[in-house]
Amino acid sequence: MDQMQEVTILLAEDSPTDAEITKRALKKIGLTNKVIWVVNGQEALDYLLRAGTYANRASDEPKLILLDLKMPKVDGLEVLQTIKSLDATKHIPVVMLTSSAEEQDIVKSYQLGVNSYLVKPVEFDRFVEEVAKAGCYWTIMNKTPLMM
């Protein structure tokens, strides 16, 4: 992971501090140059479906989506449900990145087809470690079909 990887990651996170920490964690493992940060579920869907302010965006298809669970307007579970129900987006790996370790949230996420479920640690060092592991795995190690 020494050389910078040219991958786009969509980060949906309503807390600016959590977003900044996440971006920093991704930067530490060299996955920083293309992190698109949106602050709620509606914006995340707009980006993915080229709607609203993202109607004319460049063709930067995310290779990984990091979703917070609790967000204003449209929450993480709803975004997840939409992503996994649409042919255009269902192959993109989705990792839940959330403070909630509640059983019901984990069960619901897996029912909706989440690829990973991570609980954000309070400690910065462990947080970096978790995000790095997930980022590396889903963007570099995991193979997805090319023709999708």
Binding site: T17, L69, S99, S100, V122, F127
Partner: protein, 454 residues
């Protein structure tokens, strides 16, 4: 129901039962007596009837003899002959009857003798007429008739006497029977009335009690419903604690770290130390929140009961605890032999908490020894985790299992004081109990009981 009232009700019901039983006994006895009385009445009638039968038979014999003496025709002897055959049998029957109640035995014996005498008399007259012809022309015939009449009168008188006495006896016996019947009747009426009153009052008491209990149950249901609402609220409360409280903490720790990373060349030693204090404390608070959530979850999670091999589970838990152990010479003795039943995940949490405590508080010793044992106790299984660690002062034993209660500072031993509270909550939910004993500087023993095999 208060104990006095329930005793009273029980006593009332028992009394009613006793009364019913004695009433049945009395009724049975009195009915038997009544039957006996009517048998005696019947007997008296039989005696009188039999007397009259005998008398009329004797009269027939006499009439037959008279006819023969007058006409010298054998045809008239038919009633006499019949009486000669019948009378001894009828006299015997009469004597048997009188023998049954011992009344008038003497008089009846006298009558029997007189009748037989009279029959002899008749026989003598008939025989004489046969031999000597027309007897009424003979001298002494009139005397013979007179003596016969005297015997006959005697018999009549005696029969009259006996009949009279028997009638009186009959009247006496009827009176006794009637008295008994009426006293039986009053017994039945009085007894049944008492039984009815006793049953009614018991019934009223019981009905009242049932009403009271129904009311109490309704109240309990209301409380349960309220509790459910409160529980729901607590659940959403702990949910938001888990999500919202940790976010700012993460920022505090994250930004301190970023500051340290990006500006360590500008910050002096003291600045870096202060930053470290910030980070240590945010970490501590994060731990507190996690523990509190665990505690809340341990009380909320539904129990999934199954048979548990505690020996294997203790080994598993020890493996996890020992993974973070830095002491080189810890000895772990698993002597558990008895299985139990419970929620496997929660019981594992109990073992994890107790074993990590045992390790934590025995780590200062050169040779820490931690052992787990099992034994039967009052239909349950008692598991005990013993260590030879620093122990605690038994004066504060009651504070051990409270939330956030600690007997050591976190500088001495790290921790938030939730572990044992979780242990107690889980064990109590399983219907068991937790106890702890210790000798300062020698070690502690923590025991918990669980239901035995299903």
């Amino acid at each position: 129901m208060n104990p006095n009232k329930s005793w009273l009700t029980l006593a009332g019901l028992l009394l009613a039962l006793t009364l019913l039983l004695s009433l049945s006994y009395i009724t049975y006895n009195r009915t038997n007596q009544f039957l006996a009385s009517s048998r005696w009445v019947d007997h008296t009638y039989q005696v009188i009837l039999q007397l009259n039968t005998v008398l009329s038979e004797l009269k027939d014999a006499e009439t037959g003899q008279r006819g023969y003496l007058l006409s010298n025709n054998d045809l008239f002897l038919a009633p006499y002959n019949k009486a000669v055959i019948n009378l001894p049998r009828q006299i015997k029957q009469l004597q048997d009857l009188s023998a049954q109640d011992q009344a008038d035995v003497e008089a009846i014996n006298t009558i029997s003798d007189l009748i037989l005498q009279r029959l002899d008399h008749l026989k003598v007259n008939i025989d004489r007429q046969r031999q000597e012809g027309q007897l009424f022309n003979h001298p002494g015939f009139t005397e013979s008739l007179e003596s016969g009449k005297a015997i006959m009168d005697n018999i009549r008188n005696l029969v009259g006497d006996i009949s009279f006495r028997q009638q009186r006896l009959l009247a006496d016996r009827a009176k006794v029977a009637e008295r008994e019947a009426s006293s039986t009747l009053s017994w039945i009426v009085f007894g049944n009335l008492t039984v009815v009153i006793l049953l009614m009052s018991s019934f009223i008491v019981i009905i009242k009690e049932v009403k009271k209990r129904m009311l109490a149950q309704r109240e309990a249901e209301q409380v349960a419903a309220q509790l459910q609402v409160t529980n729901k609220e607590l659940e959403s409360f702990s949910y938001s604690v888990s999500h919202d409280l940790r976010s700012p903490l993460r920022a505090i720790d994250g930004y301190s770290r970023m500051l340290e990373e990006d500006y360590s060349d500008i910050l002096d030693q003291e600045g870096l130390r202060l930053l470290e204090v910030v980070r240590v404390n945010s970490k501590k608070m994060g731990q507190l929140i996690d523990d509190l959530l665990n505690f809340a979850r341990s009380g909320r999670k539904e129990l999934v009961l199954e048979e548990i091999d505690i020996r294997a589970l203790a080994n598993e838990a020890w493996k996890e605890v020992n993974a973070e152990n830095k002491h080189p010479d810890v000895q772990f003795n698993n002597q558990v032999s008895l299985p139990s039943q419970g929620d496997k995940a929660l019981i594992k949490q109990v073992l994890l908490n107790l074993l990590s405590n045992a390790l934590k508080y025995s780590s200062p010793k050169a040779m820490p020894i931690i052992s787990v044992t099992s034994e039967h106790a009052n239909n349950q299984v008692l598991y005990t985790i013993t260590d030879n660690g620093v122990g605690f002062d038994m004066t504060y034993a009651h504070k051990l299992f409270g939330v956030f209660q600690r007997l050591h500072t976190s500088e001495e031993f790290p921790g938030t004081g939730v572990g044992l509270a979780i242990v107690q909550r889980i064990i109590v939910r399983h219907g068991g109990s937790v106890t702890a004993t210790s000798i300062l500087e020698q070690g502690s023993a923590f025991s918990f009981s669980l239901p035995g095999r299903m």
